[in-house]
């Protein structure tokens, strides 16, 4: 495993990079206030534009948030891959395409017409589809979620430093919802994706009154037909499942997993 390389390095150098995103995952990293100073003593931060002036290219671990959205992102990401021993994709934009990929359901011509009054040059240039990092380079690890969970991020760093592989839950958000004793939202006719979505978030959204929208991608055996049936049984159209899946899981490779299994919403 690549992770074992890390155990041999005394104080690994880490860098944080950001592509098309809200930079909220960086903020989550800074929000581990109690251990932040310990963290920066365990790894040497050599590149973190949002917080520091130094910019060095001799990093061992690259944490990368955001989606690939512009032509120049591809080359920049390939450079990062060449320099880093380990590349960690951080957050839904990097792992799945996330909300950036909602626009992927529209054709490039349609986008160009609707946005910037047709301008596609210079700073306005974008790729036809917003894409996860793994479509461009090999990604060694993923920390999922929109935003990432702070505890899970720390756990990932801890296991990387120890030379072990971070563990990602393989089960559904529904499991964690049940453990929290949150009332099932689908039964209240709220279109919740918890049954197909990967856990690890402690099912926080349903607990605060919002449906799971699948920001961590899918667990190991998602049953999309059953999701559509559950919606239908509770008085919602099956196509609503597909519509909700567009929010975070709309990049084409991911969309392929569910698209054929659910009736498509009228809006696409």
């Amino acid at each position: 495993m690549r992770a074992s390389v890390m155990a041999t390095i005394q104080r690994p150098k880490a860098a944080f990079f950001s592509f098309g995103s809200c930079e909220g995952c960086q903020l989550q990293v800074l929000s581990v206030e109690d251990v932040l100073l310990t963290l920066v003593s365990a790894v040497e931060i050599v590149n973190f534009r949002e917080a520091i002036d130094d910019r060095r290219d001799d990093y061992d671990i690259a944490f990368v948030e955001g989606s690939v959205v512009r032509p120049e992102d591809i080359e920049e990401l390939q450079q990062i891959r060449k320099r880093a021993k380990i590349v960690v994709a951080v957050g839904a934009c990097a792992c799945l395409g996330g909300v950036n990929a909602i626009r992927n359901r529209r054709s490039p011509t349609e986008l160009a017409r609707e946005v910037y009054g047709g301008r596609q040059d210079g700073v306005f240039k974008t790729l036809a589809e917003a894409a996860p990092l793994a479509t461009v380079v090999t990604v060694d690890y993923e920390v999922r979620g929109c935003p990432i969970d702070r505890a899970e991020f720390l756990e990932s760093v801890r296991s990387l430093l120890a030379g072990t592989t971070p563990v990602v839950p393989a089960f559904a958000v529904c499991v964690q919802c049940t453990m929290r004793d949150t009332e099932c939202l689908v039964r209240r006719r709220i279109p919740c994706l918890g049954s197909v979505a990967r856990a690890g978030c402690d099912a926080i959204c349903p607990a605060y009154g919002a449906p799971c929208e699948g920001c961590r991608g899918f667990h190991d055996a998602p049953n999309f037909e059953a999701l559509g049936e559950a919606f239908y049984r509770h008085g919602m159209p099956r196509s609503l499942a597909a519509e909700k899946l567009q929010l975070f899981n709309n990049f084409k490779d991911i969309r392929e997993q569910w698209e054929q299994r659910l009736p498509s919403p009228s809006t696409t």
Binding site: E23, I52, R70, R103, G122, I204, E213
Partner: protein
């Protein structure tokens, strides 16, 4: 042949998002001075099209991690205006409490993590932690407190969860509010120490008069939840007329739209709010303003940082008062009903840490968003930043390039630009729309 000097700062550090400063001097004259916004365009207005209105606050809070509570707030206000929903007073209080958390978070991050290293001659907060650990540890304590305000109200600060038309999807239990109240009270010393620290710092002495804008709360409170936009020129426009106060336009070198007011560039943010609403400050915040040498009419953009310190005091005092009010009547408030189910247009305006934020939606009769427009504080400030650079840099032409670049970076940083926010990307004229 004249001599041309080019100064380029590629990806300004210690700001949110990606921006470059480009300054060209020819024979000691400024020939070019641009703040290039090179952040990836993100098309949020397009992302909203056809989505159900319930999703709007959850989609738009993803415009920007650091401003996500502000986006959720403007978004839910726009939805409620479109659907004729009037949330109850307790809901408003809970939402305002969440905003105080975001103001604290954002201002603490900016003044301590992004600006303070310049003041103490450190390249970042990490070496500063080695040199003066007590400063950094205090900043982290305050930052954590700010997060806890938002965790209590909406589950998270980054991507708040519970915003719903007419109400909140989660109501904090009395025990949670009491725990938060205790932590807020314990932080008073840290807040005072913050004022003391920043009162010792000196700011570059420059001035450029500029129109200030802020959206004023109608109940007499300090501008935060928003309302009519007031200008230092004396004009006031109601939220639906926001385009009269701020006109957006596209420039070549920026993926973010620029904004101009009636009389040229405009400034928004802490300093503008303070210039316009000093009489609405909590007495402790007013005292801090006097201590930091701030008086209405301030025209030095570098004073935005001490103005944020004043607002740290304001947000902290307000948070305590709001928790007390919520504790005095802790029963959850139900959701206010939709009175205009056919939908329509709605404008939501609030004051986020960096200034006035506008969301405007047109909601169709099927509850889906037909079109959306967002006007972002950083977009409003971009033209003012460039105008400031043009006004201030010529006086520095004899200085070494590094010094000019450093000054320019500090000026950009003083505005606390949020570039992720600003590249929401614009000009959406949907088919079937006028």
């Amino acid at each position: 042949m004249g001599t041309t000097t080019s100064i380029a700062v590629h990806h300004v550090t210690r700001v949110e998002g990606h921006g470059n400063i480009v300054i060209d001097l020819r024979d000691g004259r400024l020939t070019r001075c641009d703040l290039e916004i090179v952040e990836s365009p993100r098309f949020f207005e397009v992302l909203l099209k056809d989505r159900p209105y319930e999703e709007a606050p959850r989609i738009t809070c993803r415009i920007c991690g650091i401003c996500s509570v502000g986006h959720a707030t403007a978004s839910i206000q726009a939805v409620e205006a479109a659907l004729g929903v009037r949330p109850g007073p307790k809901t408003q209080r809970l939402r305002r409490l969440n905003m105080t958390g975001e103001w604290l978070q954002s201002h603490v991050l900016h003044v301590y993590f992004l600006v303070a290293p310049d003041a103490f001659g450190a390249p970042s907060v990490i070496p500063l932690a080695a040199k003066q650990p007590e400063i950094v540890v205090r900043a982290l304590r305050l930052k954590k407190l700010a997060n806890e305000v938002c965790y209590t109200v909406s589950g998270r600060h980054v991507m708040p969860i519970s915003y719903q038309a007419g109400g909140m999807g989660y109501w904090p239990r009395a025990a949670e509010l009491e725990a938060l109240r205790g932590k807020l009270a314990a932080a008073r010393e840290d807040v005072d120490a913050t004022v003391d620290l920043f009162a010792t710092l000196k700011w570059p002495a420059v001035e450029r008069a500029c129109e200030c804008l802020a959206a004023f709360d109608e109940d007499g409170a300090y501008p935060m939840m928003g309302g009519p936009i007031r200008s230092s020129t004396g004009r006031t426009v109601p939220p639906p007329g926001y385009r009269d106060a701020m006109q957006e336009y596209l420039v070549e070198h920026s993926a973010s739209k620029h904004v101009k007011g009636r009389e040229g560039t405009v400034r928004v943010g802490a300093l503008s709010r303070l210039n316009l609403a000093a009489d609405r400050l909590h007495p402790r915040a007013a005292k801090a303003a006097a201590r930091l040498g701030l008086a209405p009419g301030a025209a030095n953009p570098f004073l935005n940082t001490p103005a944020q310190v004043v607002e740290i005091v304001q947000a902290h005092e307000e948070a305590m008062a709001l928790v007390d009010a919520l504790l005095a009547d802790p029963a959850p408030e139900g959701r206010a009903p939709v009175t205009r189910s056919r939908g329509g247009k709605g404008v939501g305006i609030c004051e986020v840490p960096r200034g006035t934020l506008v969301h405007e939606y047109n909601v169709g009769s099927d509850g889906r968003i037909l079109s959306a427009n967002c006007v972002i504080p950083t977009g409003q400030n971009l033209a003012a930043i460039e105008e400031d650079l043009r006004a201030f840099v010529p006086a520095l032409v004899e200085k070494p390039k590094g010094e000019i670049a450093h000054f320019a970076e500090m000026l950009v940083r003083a505005y606390d630009p949020c570039i992720s926010c600003s590249v929401h990307m614009v000009d959406v004229g949907f088919e079937g729309e006028g």
